[in-house]
Amino acid sequence: MAALIRCEDLWKIYRLGDVEVQALRGLNLSIASGEFVAIMGSSGSGKSTLMNILGCLDQPTRGRYWLNDVDAAGLRADQLADIRNRQIGFVFQNFNLIPRTSALENAQLPLFYRGVSLREQRVLATEALCRVGLQGREGHYPTQLSGGQQQRVAIARALVTAPSLLLADEPTGNLDTESSREIMAILDQLNKEQGITIILVTHETDIAAYAEREIVMKDGRILTDRHTKSTVSLSGPEA
């Protein structure tokens, strides 16, 4: 399969006053289209930095990053915004829904910036909410939804533009076990049935177990990278 993501000798160096922090040190990575990858590692291992670069929210200090054969390392802020809008969906640990705004409008948000007509925004966002099992809750505000439901709205928002890549940063970090399982089941289904590439950052091994490939990072480099497909079934590890 064609490589969706290719990273070559990726460096990210921050300067905090006089201290130089090397968050990424010459990282190489290739992820094919349709893969379900879990990235693990202790805090400070560079996994968040990697996710930011993969998500086109940040630029590497050095090295190259190809997404769909486009070199994202050399793009301007507006071009990166376009890539985020069209090709990447984000799911965050703290959901990051816009407060006092309905589920439907939250799900519409990426389409709003794409300049899609209001009617089409409504149709696509309603459909996306349906796919995460939130039909009938379109008018609910984030405060009227449970944590699991909020995260599902966030997934609908990520899905609404039909991205090729979904980045989930600790998506179950703020959820109870039951909600976590629901969210992971949705992600798993999106990967298996729609072929969306998912990259997941997590601390928890049972969450990582949903993925087919597990990358462990340490000190800005990849420590281990292995395929774990055999342990995953369609309905989750417990089934």
């Binding site: 802020a77 990051n96 990426p110 910036y113 209001l118």
Partner: protein, 411 residues
């Protein structure tokens, strides 16, 4: 793009309506500023129009020549103290200066006027018939006296509205009535249309006109036959007013045999001069009021900027999310600019209402004339948009320069 703007406006209205008290207080500055501008300008415009009306009530293209002060062995008398202008000066002007369409003269004094059992002290003005033409007096009933009346020194009178009100009962017809001025009986042959206040603020309708010759010989008495209180002249065209005034000066100086080093023994005033003085007074007032009102608009704008900066900080995470899902810098700039303009425009519209109301109240209470022109309202509207744009720019730009990663992590 238009769809985006429309949706952003709707979003802005919703975001602002979430915190109505805050939005209201933020707008208050603009409301007061725009309201003040509208009220002040309408008062200024009203004053200006009133002045223009008074100046116009003088007549059309009028030049006045007043006798100057006379210096008697070093003691200078006041203006009009000298008896230096005469009918023959007036006739000479008419003959020598073709630019003048009319030349007239008058002489006035306050006298007791009696009608039946009523009496009134009014200004009696002995005039040449041309005076009425120069000053644009018209009649509400009856008509003017003629040159023949002047030649024969007839005892006929024209009365102003104020005199009519004070000398005649309601419904009593003044034309044809006999009134007595300083015990000399006069027949009223015309009632003048009202003119209102003069540019000096005196009541122009408190007047009685009688033929100059009659006044001179039968009422006032005179030491020097033919001396006048003032000469009046008018020109066809407004542009001729100033050159005509210069020619009048030359002619009178020559007739009075004034040496080049001697001062004029008369004063010339044109309608343009009088209008200019009055206008500049009210213009100064307008400019001052406008400056004060602008300061309150400035304060209002700073209020908007302040609240938007707070809003940007409060909504840092939201900005981060918007950027993550694909908002470009210009989208974020637009969002905050539109919020600022929404605030300032809503405030501006309320301010326009407040200003109109303020002007109405001023007219009702103080009795000052006010004029609210469409231009003023439009200018206030445009100005409030400009205030929103100007003071929204910095917060909007600040928001758009946030780093998405930091913004997403902001607690």
């Amino acid at each position: 793009m238009p769809a985006f703007v429309l949706l952003t406006v709707l979003t802005a209205i919703r975001i602002l309506s979430r915190n109505r008290l805050r939005a209201g207080l933020t707008m208050l500055g603009i409301v007061i500023g725009v309201g003040a501008v509208i009220a002040m300008v309408s008062i200024g415009e009203g004053a200006k129009a009133a002045v223009a009306k008074r100046v116009a009530s003088m007549g059309t293209n009028v030049i006045m020549v007043l006798p100057g002060s006379m210096t008697t062995s070093g003691v200078r008398g006041g203006q009009g103290g000298a008896v230096t202008l005469t009918i023959s000066d007036g006739m000479e002007l008419k003959k020598r200066i073709p630019m003048l369409s009319e030349v007239g003269w008058g002489k006035r004094d306050t006298m007791q006027i009696i009608n039946g059992n009523k009496n009134w002290s009014g200004l009696v003005n002995g005039i040449s018939p041309s005076y009425l033409t120069i000053r644009d007096w018209s009649f509400s009933s009856g008509g003017a006296f003629t040159q023949q009346d002047v030649d024969t020194a007839d005892r006929v009178a024209l009365v102003g509205q104020t005199v009519v009100e004070n000398l005649f009962d309601v419904g009593e017809e003044p034309v044809g009535a006999i009134i007595r001025i300083k015990n000399v009986p006069f027949r009223v042959i015309g009632v003048l249309s009202p003119k209102g206040q003069s540019s000096q603020g005196s009541d122009q309708d408190d007047i009685i006109f009688i033929p100059f010759s009659t006044a001179e010989r039968k009422v006032f008495g005179t030491q020097f036959l033919g001396s006048v209180g003032a000469l009046f002249a008018s020109t066809e065209r407004l542009e001729d007013l100033t050159p005509a005034a210069a020619q009048i000066r030359d002619v009178i100086r020559a007739r009075h045999r004034l040496q080049p080093d001697q001062e004029d023994d008369f004063t010339i005033r044109t309608q343009v001069d009088i209008g200019k003085v009055q206008e500049s007074t009210s213009e100064t007032l307008t400019v001052m009021l406008f400056a004060i009102a602008s300061v309150s608009l400035l304060v209002g704008g700073i209020g908007i900027m302040n609240i938007l900066l707070v809003s940007v900080t409060e909504r840092t995470r939201e900005i981060g999310v918007r950027m993550a899902v694909g908002a470009k810098r210009r989208h974020i700039v637009m969002q905050f600019l539109i919020e600022a303009v929404t605030l300032s425009v809503v405030g501006g519209c309320l301010g326009i209402l407040v200003g109109i109301l303020g002007a109405r109240v001023t007219t009702a209470i103080a009795g000052w004339p006010t004029i609210i022109s469409a231009e003023t309202v439009m200018a206030a509207f445009v100005f409030s948009i400009a205030v929103g744009l100007f003071f929204g720019l910095y917060p909007a730009n600040k928001a758009s320069r946030l780093n998405p990663i930091d913004a997403l992590r902001y607690e």
